[in-house]
């Protein structure tokens, strides 16, 4: 089957090169839209527990300003490692840092709370416009 005939059947574009360029343009639009939406349009995000565990300390208060990398809270979790055909479990404390700068709007969790991954809300952060939360 000739290239032209196959193209008529499978694509709305004149050639593969046109289709490649259109796909690249489309992805650029999609990626830029997501980045602009998250950086400028979404006002705040709710941070949920990144793992199962127990909150040991919340180091921020509502209305506090935080910078990227600041400690937000600590969570005690079970870390599993499989070695020598046996499962080793140890309790470790993980520190959760801000991925972007902004203002804490509210804090829902407190020290001692048991939390489940992606189920429990920890805090709401209003990120600085132009940063990616």
């Amino acid at each position: 089957m000739s290239e032209a005939k196959k193209n008529v059947k499978m694509t709305v574009f004149k050639t593969d090169r046109h289709e490649d360029l259109a796909a690249m343009f489309f992805v650029t639009i999609a990626v830029v839209s997501v980045l602009v939406y998250m950086a400028y349009i979404v006002p705040s995000i709710t941070l949920q527990a990144p793992m199962d565990g127990k909150i040991t300390a919340v180091t921020v208060q509502p209305q506090a300003q935080v910078n990227k990398g600041d400690l937000l809270y600590s969570i005690e979790t079970k870390e599993k490692k499989y070695a020598h055909e046996a499962l080793e479990e140890k309790i470790v404390t993980k520190e959760i840092h801000a991925k972007t700068s902004g203002k804490i709007l509210s804090v829902m969790a407190k020290a001692g709370d048991e939390v489940k991954k992606d189920k429990n809300d920890i805090l709401v952060l209003e990120h600085v416009k132009g940063t990616l939360p």
Partner: protein, 369 residues
């Protein structure tokens, strides 16, 4: 059919495209959540846990049902232009796939493992090319089958399709062959692994290299050791699998050059000429996305931005796959005969057995990462 231009063409695209969007919306909003809770054969989520059905396979199945049952073998005129956007979405999805990986994640695996995985990927491709020619298979089908057997079933077959002008039936055959092979190896591999006393690292390395589909690598590793933790078979299997998946753009390039070189020989065109005219430039987008991801320009790992980016990617892929399914005509599958199955199974078996031998000879019991 009359060729449309400009705004007429854009308007003609809308009904079919809207139908694809609506289908995907129903699949993702209602069917997918239902599958995770439905009790079949006494097991909750049987369709997901045992059959490994996900939105990718659902989208292809929905498209196939539309064409072969609802529309009696032909996409209706009102939907035809919309369904022709299929390859655009697949190419866009392949580019966005690059955002899943970072150079840092590759560095974890190490040079020896990367060399080993790449040797198997390209060794399998060359085997399929040779044996496919011996079986007098169509070159487009050989190209798709080579990608499917070399890398990982669904994604690689789909990524190669537009570059080698394969028919959707070719893709369906390639996917069916590697998934069928994968299901058999899912049951056999844990048994072999235990019999040979493989460590979790060795088992993960073996199935991460030898099994052809990403989902089945995961399932097989979990069947060997159900624990999900660093140091288990599933953790190692997935890391090895990432390296294999990231080779997709190289594989697409290699197979494209192989396919068009033969076409060009007949027309006396040089290799440079082929690269200039036929190089699938959309794979540059894949590398660009990996570079952006590695530089943190798409948001930090685990951030809300990255999560939204992945949701967008899954919708783009989903749209492309509904269209892909709608171009699969079951009559073409029957017409293809047994040669593709023979080639796919031979390639799969050789890779599976050789990977085991190499792992036993060269991979230590414990990982150094």
């Amino acid at each position: 059919m009359e060729e449309k231009h400009g705004m007429t063409k854009v308007v003609a695209i809308i009904p079919g495209l809207a139908f694809m969007v609506l289908t995907l919306y129903i699949l993702r909003t209602y069917v997918e959540p239902w599958m995770t809770t439905a009790v079949i054969l006494g097991q909750k989520g049987w369709l997901v846990k045992v059959l490994h059905l996900n939105y990718i396979l659902l989208a292809i199945i929905a498209g196939m049902l539309y064409r072969n049952l609802l529309w009696a073998g032909k996409i209706p005129a009102w939907a035809e232009e919309g369904f022709r956007t299929t390859r655009l979405f697949i190419k866009a999805g392949v580019m966005m796939l690059g955002s899943l990986y970072t150079i840092q994640s590759l560095a974890k695996v190490g040079g020896v493992a990367i060399t080993l995985i790449m040797t198997f990927v390209f060794g399998t491709i060359l085997f399929v090319m040779y044996y496919g020619r011996f079986q007098k298979m169509d070159r487009s089908l050989v190209g798709v089958m080579a990608a499917a057997c070399g890398v990982c079933g669904v994604s690689a077959a789909i990524a190669t399709t537009p570059a080698v002008r394969a028919k959707p039936a070719d893709v369906a055959l390639a996917i069916a062959t590697v998934l069928g092979f994968g299901i058999a190896s899912m049951f056999i591999s844990p048994f072999i692994g235990h019999m040979l006393h493989l460590s979790d690292y060795q088992f993960g390395a073996w199935v991460g290299t030898g099994i052809l589909n990403s989902g089945q690598v995961l399932a097989t590793c979990l069947a060997y050791n159900p624990t999900i933790a660093p140091g288990t078979a599933v953790a190692y299997g997935e890391i090895w699998n990432v390296v294999r998946v990231i080779s997709i753009p190289f594989v697409v390039f290699f197979i494209t050059m192989w396919y068009w070189r033969a076409e060009a020989e007949a027309e006396h065109v040089t290799l440079i000429g082929i690269i200039k005219d036929k190089f699938p430039i959309f794979i540059i987008g894949f590398f660009a996305m990996t570079a952006f991801s590695s530089l943190g320009m798409l948001g930090a790992e685990g951030s809300a931005t990255i999560q939204l980016m992945r949701t967008v990617m899954s919708w783009i892929f989903g749209l492309g796959l509904i269209g892909q399914g709608a171009y699969i005509d079951v009559r073409e599958l029957k017409a293809a005969g047994g040669a593709p199955l023979k080639v796919g199974l031979a390639a799969g078996l050789c890779k599976y057995a050789l990977a085991l031998v190499v792992v036993l000879l060269f991979v230590s019991k414990e990982a150094n990462f």
